[in-house]
């Protein structure tokens, strides 16, 4: 049926993405798991992103402290800074900023890698050999993202809290590390961690899935490799924002009420 072409394309793409996700799920539980490739991907996605996530996390905590301190000082509430930094970073800023950083770094790299494998017919070669490219390339990357993004987020959270300590001391307030961490940790509950970690698991799935989908379904020209990487970043970033908005709604109804 020929409807308005953009609507047609939307439904075609949605169907294609649904089929791709079904293929991912089917291949996750079928046949032998590609442990070596999974571990390699965990190294590439997790370990190789530590640097950028560490710097970003630390700077967030540092800047957030410096920006909020003058306002809180006016009300004599500077003692609340460690707790405020800690809660904000763990509940919201840490997961979202780490998710966006990883969308830029990881989704683009997966999109470009699979896109270039597609252009050079390596994916076709795997499929024709009788092996499953989805099992080897897609399952391992999506699961590695699902495992590594929450770990990277917790790492960024820890550095943001440390950044807050440095920020507080560099702005003239003299506070010991022990007191700072006591005040920061005292405000935290287990229920602050769980929604944030669950949220980052979905961020990981989104980043891995979007990167793989864009690369796997790129066109055959060399230009399409760049397009695959670029569109993977854009789509993954939008998904992070959408998932975060949904997660905030859910947690505010079921957890913080």
């Amino acid at each position: 049926m020929n409807i308005y072409p953009p609507i047609n394309r939307f439904f075609e793409k949605t169907g294609e993405q649904t089929n791709f996700f079904k293929a991912f799920l089917r291949n996750t539980f079928k046949g032998s798991f590609e442990w070596n490739e999974f571990i390699r991907q965990c190294y590439v996605i997790g370990y190789k992103s530590l640097g950028i996530v560490a710097v970003t996390g630390f700077v967030i905590g540092f800047v957030f402290t410096l920006q909020s301190l003058p306002t809180l000082k006016e009300f004599g509430a500077q003692s609340y800074v460690p707790g405020m930094v800690c809660i904000s970073v763990i509940r919201e800023i840490g997961p979202v900023v780490t998710g966006l950083i990883c969308a830029g770094k990881i989704a683009s790299s997966i999109g470009a890698e699979l896109g270039s494998m597609n252009v050079s017919e390596q994916i076709d070669a795997m499929e024709i050999s009788g092996a499953s490219p989805v099992q080897y390339l897609v399952v391992t990357r999506i699961l590695a993202c699902t495992l590594m993004i929450p770990i990277l987020t917790l790492f960024a959270d820890a550095l943001a809290v440390a950044g807050g300590f440095v920020g507080l001391n560099s702005s003239g307030a003299s506070i010991s590390m022990q007191l700072y961490f006591h005040k920061a940790v005292a405000t935290l509950y287990f229920s602050d961690f769980i929604p944030a970690v669950i949220k980052t698991i979905f961020f990981g799935i989104a980043i891995g899935f979007v990167g793989c989908y864009k690369g796997y379904h790129s066109n055959k020209g060399t230009e399409s490799v760049g397009l695959a990487a670029n569109s993977a970043v854009v789509a993954a970033s939008i998904w992070i924002i959408i998932l975060d908005a949904i997660a905030v709604q859910i947690t505010s109804v079921f957890v913080y009420n």
Binding site: M117, S120, E121, Q122, D124, A125, M126, E127, I128, S129, G130, A131, S132, Y136
Partner: protein
């Protein structure tokens, strides 16, 4: 003689443009068929239909007596384990060494887990194509001819019954092209494989073909041995031999 590939009335279109029009072609067991034709005439589309990478719009395409379009995913995968496909650019997995490239299908398709057996088969396959010393190299370290040989070794290692060649000598110098063509002939004789070879290289066609078919505007317009086609009256066919 038994046909391993039977194509009857095959049609395939892309966006209203009919690329293959009513193709009928049989490949006998142990024989090589060369497909000649200008670029963009649907030669690669035809062999992609054979391995189930593309679905024909109309017609029948049987491999080992089974209709490809009616196969489910597992049957398709099973059929593909008996078919080797040599891509124009080699399609070597560039993040893996030569050894890992060779082991990829062995461990995943033939389910061989014994490292010593994998090593033995890898060395045998590389020796068969004269690349014994390259086992630890990365694909990026290999020259154009070596990449073709390596792709050949990767195709051979699973001992396919049919090999489909997509322009195996394109981009190679005359001497290397001749070497690859002779290698294709040796492999066919040694392993009794059947093959469809898509090429523009007449030297390759002369060395490897049992029969040649000529494709023009989506239709097979001539069929015969190299010498039969060399002496035929068709002007289009003659252009390949001049």
């Amino acid at each position: 003689m038994e046909n391993v590939i039977e194509i009857q009335g095959l049609k395939k279109s892309f966006g209203g443009h009919e690329v293959l029009k009513n193709i009928t072609l049989n490949v006998e067991k142990g024989k090589s068929i060369v497909v000649l034709g200008k670029s963009g005439q649907g030669k690669s589309v035809m062999i992609k239909c054979v391995v189930g990478m593309m679905i024909p719009d109309e017609g029948s395409l049987k491999v080992f007596g089974n209709e490809v379009a009616e196969m489910n995913e597992d049957e398709l995968r099973e059929m593909r384990t008996k078919i080797g496909f040599l891509f124009q650019g080699g399609a070597l997995y560039d993040s893996m060494t030569v050894r890992e490239n060779l082991a990829f299908a062995l461990t995943r398709v033939l389910k061989i887990k014994d490292d010593a057996d994998i090593e033995k088969r890898a060395v045998e396959a590389l020796d068969a194509v004269g690349l014994g010393e390259a086992i630890d190299k990365m694909p990026s370290d290999l020259s154009g001819g070596m990449r073709k040989r390596m792709a050949f070794a990767r195709t051979l290692i699973v001992k396919p019954e049919i090999i489909l060649y997509d322009e195996p000598t394109t981009g190679l110098d005359t001497i290397t092209s001749k070497e690859i063509s002779r290698l294709m002939l040796d492999i066919q004789k040694k392993y009794k494989t059947s093959s469809i070879i898509i090429t523009h290289d007449m030297q390759c066609a002369k060395i490897t073909a049992d029969r040649i078919v000529v494709l023009n505007e989506g239709e097979l317009i001539a069929e015969g041995t190299y010498s039969e086609l060399e002496n035929c009256d068709n002007d289009f066919v003659q252009q390949f031999f001049k």
